[in-house]
Symmetry: C2
Subunit: 506 residues, 2 copies
C-alpha cells in the first residue's frame, strides 16, 4: 500500500521525475509516429478483437505496475496494437498522418491541461482561438467578419449550424422547445452529405422524417434546381423549410456542391445556408484550388475539420458563422459560478457561454502553431501535392487494365474505383456480375489488412446503384507521391488478381 | 519557398527527427507540468487580453519560423502565458493537476492520432473503452451489466442521457421529431444542478420552459418529496414528465442528492433517472466514501468526468447506462461508408454508430493507463486525501476569526465560505452589509490573481440569497495537505484584511 504523507505524493511508478515522459518520447521516436514511418513498414499488425483483449492484458489490480519493465510493456503494447495512421499507406479515413509540429502542439496542449471556457484559466488558448477564427472567417469569404468556435468534431460543428439556424428563425424555441411549433421544420441536404446531418437532426428534435435528401447529379453534386423543387414540395406538404446543408467535399465522391446556385435558392426562400466543409474546406488555403469554394462567402455558416485534409492532430474542428453574436445568443444560459460579470478583466473574453460544452479543449492552439511555425506556404504546397497525387492516381486508374473509375472528373482528392479481377473481365455486366464485383473489394481489403501493407476504404453506394468500390483519398501529410499511388494500385492488383469466380458466388 | 519533391517532405522547421518533441519534453520538465510545480512558484502571470494578444505575436506569415530560436520562443511563450493548472494552489475549477502517468497516457493517445469509431482504425482504443466501461458499470452498482461511451465532456454526456430517455419513452421521436408530440416533455432537476442540463434541454428541442427546477434543501440536496410535488404539478398542467436529473456532487456546494428517494419517485411515476456524477462520481473508487452514491445503481444512466476529481487529463468523461443496446438504437443511422457489415472481423466492435460524433477520441485509454499503472489503491488513497484536506479546511474555517462557512456539513470536497475583513466585522448584517460583503471575494480574487499566488473560485447563489462567497475544492492530485489548506486561508486573509469599507461602497 502506497503512503501519502505531508503532501509528498506517493509514486508507486518506479520512474523518477520526467523519465516516464522520456520513455513515451522514445517510443514515439522509435516508431516515428510523426509521419516519418518508412513505406515498407506495416500499417497494422491485425489482431481480432477477442485475441487483442487477451494481448492487452486488461486486468486492473489494486497494486499497479511494480517495475519499469512492466510499465514500459504496458505502453509499448498499446502502441504495438494500434494502427499506424501516420503511415504513408494509411488511406482508410479522411485523416491520417500528423507531422512533428502538429504533435508538438498536441503535446503542449495536453501538458497545459486546461479549458478555454474562461479567459482566467486558458488565456493563451482563448487568444489563439480568436486569431485563428478571425483568419478563417476571412479566408472563407466573409469580408465583414464573423464568429466561430472550435468543436469536438465536425458532427457537433454541424449541430451548431442547425441550432443557430433554428434560433435565428425563432428565438422563442430556446424557451418553448420544438413541441410548441405547429408545423415541422425541415432540413435539406444532398443525398451525398455526411450522416452527421441526420444524427444532428434527430438529436436536436427535428426528426429524420424532416431531413429531405436532395438529389445529386452523377458526380454527387447538389444543384440549386433540385433543391428548389424539394423546398417547394415541402412547403406544399405544409412543412416549414428553414435550413440547407451544402457540402464542400462529400465524404465518398469528394463533390463540391454548387454554392452560388444554392445561395440563390436560400436567399429566395429565406433559408439558412450551411456549408459542411469538414473534408474539403482546406482548399481555401490554396490559391490553385480555392475556387472550389466559390460562393461559400454567401453561406450563413461553415464547418471545417483541419484534422482531415490539413493533417492537424485529432481533434481539430471548427464551426464558423457570419452572424456575430448569434452563437452566444443561441447558446448562453449565464451560469454565475463561471461567467461572473464582476471580474476585473474584460469578460467578453470569457467565450464559454457561446458553447454547448462547459469544459472545452483549446484545439485552435494546434492549428495556430502549425500555421505559425510552418508558415502558410508549406501548408499550401502540401495541399496542392495531395491534389496532384490524386490526379495522377485518377489517370493511372484509367490507364491500367482491370481498374475502372466509378466517376470521372476529380473534384477533391477522392478517387473512387473498382478493381476487376481477371476472372471477372470480359463478361457481360449482369446483375449477378455486379453482385460478384461487390464482394471483391471486401476480400482484397481483408487480405491487405492481414498483410498490413495498405489500409484503404471501400463502400457501396446504394442510392446510385453502385456496388462496393474503393475510395482512395489523399491528405496533405505525409505528402503523397506518384510512387505511393503506384503502390496502392500494385498492391490491390497483387492481392486481387487471383480471385476466382467461386469465391464470389454465395 | 519550401520544396516538396519525390515524396521527401519539406521541413522548414530547423529541427531534425524528434528534436522538436524533445524540446517540448524539455519545456514540460523544466516547468514541471505533471503536477510537480513547487508551492512557491506562481500559479499565473496574469496579462490582460489586449496585452496578451501582443505578447503572443499572433501574426501568421507565408514563411513560418526561420530558426530554432524562433520556434522555441513560440512554444515557450504559449506555456509562459498559460495558467499553471497543475500547481498545488490552482483551485479555480473542478479539475487541475495531472500526474506523469496521466500525461504519458495523453501523449500516447495524441501520438496514435486515430479515432475509435471503428475497430479497424482504433483497436486498442476500442478494447480499452470496453474494459473501462465494464468496470465502471459494476462500480456504479449495475450488477447486471450495462453500456457506455466516452464523450467530449460531461455536458455532452448529460445530453446523451436526455436523448436515451426520450428514445425509451417513444422511439418514434427519432423519426418524427419533437413537433409531432402533443404535450411538452418535462425535465426535472434540482435548482443546484449544473447548467449543462439547461443547455442540453434547449439544444435537444425540449426548451428551457420545460426544465423544472426542483427545490433543494439548505445543503443543496434534492429530495424525493420536492420532486414528487413538482412532477404532480407538471402533470396537472398537462405536461409530460419523463426525465429526472439527480446530481452526485453539485458544482458549488458539492451536494449529493438522495438517490434512493429519487429512484422511488422515478419508479412510481415512470421517469428516467439520470445521475450527473461528473464531479462527485469518483467516490465509487473509495471504500470510505462510496456510500455517498447509495442508490445510484437504481438509476437508468450516469455521467462521470474522471478529468475532474480523479485528475485524469482533460478530457476524460463518460456516459453510462444500464440499458444495453439503447445507445446504439437511439443513435444509429448505419452509414455504409464506415459501418459496412461485410467486414471480416466481428463488427459488434465497431461501436461508432452508438455515438453522436463520427470521429471520436479514445479518452478511455488515459483512464485505463492510470488504473493499470498506478493500481486502484493509489487512486483510492488520493481520493481519500482530498476529502481529508477538505475536512480539515472546513474545521479551520470554523475556527479562524473572520472566516465563515456558508453551509456546515461537508459532503463532497467543496468548502464554501466567506472571508469577512476586519472593517466589516461586528456590524449588524443589514442588506447593505451583505452588499458590501458581496464585493469582498472579487476584490481578493483580483489581488490573488495579480500576485499569482493562488487561484480560487467565487460566486453568488441568488436562489438561496447568498452573496459572493469562495468555493474551495480539492481534487486528488497534487495530493492536497493541511499545509496547502492553511496557505489558502492565510493568503485570503493577507490580501483581504486591509479592505476598507469605502472600497466596498459604490
Ligand atoms: C463531409 C463530412 N462532414 C462531417 C464529418 C464529420 O466529422 P467528425 O468525424 O469530425 O464528426 C465528416 C467525417 O468524415 C465528413 O466527411
Ligand atoms: C455537476 C457537473 N455536471 C456537469 C458538468 C459539465 O462537465 P463538462 O465541463 O465536462 O462539460 C460540470 C462541470 O463543472 C459539473 O460540475
Amino acid at each position: 500500500v502506497p503512503v501519502i504523507e505531508n503532501g509528498v505524493n506517493s509514486d508507486t511508478v518506479p520512474y523518477s521525475d520526467g523519465e516516464l515522459l522520456q520513455k513515451v518520447l522514445d517510443i514515439v521516436k522509435k516508431e516515428k509516429l510523426y509521419g516519418k514511418i518508412e513505406d515498407d513498414k506495416s500499417v497494422v499488425d491485425f489482431k481480432h478483437p477477442e485475441e487483442l483483449r487477451k494481448l492487452l492484458d486488461l486486468t486492473m489490480c489494486r497494486e499497479g505496475c511494480q517495475s519499469r519493465a512492466e510499465v514500459d510493456e504496458v505502453l509499448e503494447r498499446v502502441v504495438r496494437h494500434s494502427v499506424r495512421t501516420q503511415h504513408p499507406h494509411f488511406y482508410n479515413q479522411l485523416y491520417g498522418g500528423i507531422d512533428e509540429v502538429g504533435l508538438a502542439g498536441a503535446w503542449i496542449l495536453e501538458a497545459l491541461n486546461t479549458n478555454q471556457h474562461t479567459y482566467e484559466v486558458g488565456p493563451a488558448l482563448v487568444i489563439t482561438e480568436f486569431c485563428v477564427i478571425e483568419q478563417m472567417v476571412k479566408l472563407f469569404g466573409w469580408t465583414d467578419g464573423g464568429d466561430g468556435i472550435f468543436c469536438p468534431g465536425g458532427s457537433i460543428a454541424n449541430m451548431y449550424s442547425m441550432v443557430l439556424a433554428r434560433h435565428k428563425l425563432n428565438p422563442a424555441f430556446k424557451r418553448t422547445g420544438m413541441t410548441a411549433n405547429d408545423s415541422p421544420l425541415v432540413i435539406f441536404t444532398s443525398d451525398q452529405s455526411h450522416y452527421s446531418i441526420s444524427k444532428g437532426a434527430f438529436w436536436l428534435g427535428f426528426g429524420l422524417d424532416n431531413v429531405v435528401p436532395v438529389a445529386s447529379d452523377d458526380q454527387g453534386i447538389m444543384h440549386g434546381a433540385a433543391l428548389r423543387d424539394a423546398v417547394r414540395k415541402a412547403r406544399e406538404e405544409g412543412k416549414k423549410p428553414f435550413y440547407v446543408n451544402a457540402t464542400a467535399g462529400t465524404t465518398v465522391f469528394g463533390a463540391y456542391d454548387n454554392f452560388n446556385e444554392i445561395a440563390d435558392v436560400c436567399k429566395e426562400e429565406g433559408l439558412w445556408m450551411h456549408v459542411d466543409a469538414c473534408w474539403g474546406g482546406a482548399v481555401v488555403l490554396s490559391t490553385k484550388h480555392k475556387s472550389l469554394m466559390d460562393g461559400s462567402g454567401r453561406a450563413d455558416s461553415i464547418s471545417w475539420n483541419p484534422h482531415k485534409m490539413l493533417c492537424a492532430p485529432l481533434q481539430c474542428s471548427m464551426f464558423l458563422t457570419k452572424h456575430r453574436g448569434l452563437l452566444h445568443e443561441a447558446n448562453c444560459v449565464g451560469a454565475t459560478y463561471l461567467f461572473q460579470q464582476d471580474k476585473f478583466y474584460d469578460v467578453s473574453y470569457d467565450t464559454g457561454d457561446k458553447s454547448i460544452q462547459c469544459g472545452r479543449k483549446g484545439d485552435a492552439l494546434k492549428l495556430w502553431l502549425m500555421f505559425k511555425i510552418h508558415g502558410m506556404d508549406v501548408i499550401e504546397l502540401r495541399i496542392n501535392a495531395a491534389f496532384e497525387a490524386s490526379k495522377y492516381l485518377e489517370s493511372e486508374v484509367k490507364r491500367r487494365e482491370g481498374f475502372e473509375l466509378v466517376r470521372e472528373g476529380l473534384q477533391c482528392t477522392n478517387v473512387c474505383f473498382w478493381y476487376i479481377p481477371p476472372a471477372l473481365r470480359g463478361h457481360t455486366r449482369t446483375p449477378q456480375w455486379w453482385q460478384m464485383l461487390h464482394k471483391v473489394a471486401p476480400l482484397i481489403k481483408e487480405r491487405l489488412v492481414l498483410e498490413g501493407t495498405l489500409l484503404i476504404g471501400y463502400q457501396p453506394m446504394t442510392g446510385k446503384n453502385l456496388v462496393n468500390f474503393f475510395r482512395m483519398i489523399n491528405t496533405s501529410f505525409p505528402v503523397p507521391t506518384q510512387a505511393h499511388m503506384n503502390f496502392v494500385l500494385d498492391e490491390i492488383e497483387r492481392r486481387g488478381q487471383d480471385i476466382e469466380v467461386q469465391s464470389l458466388e454465395s
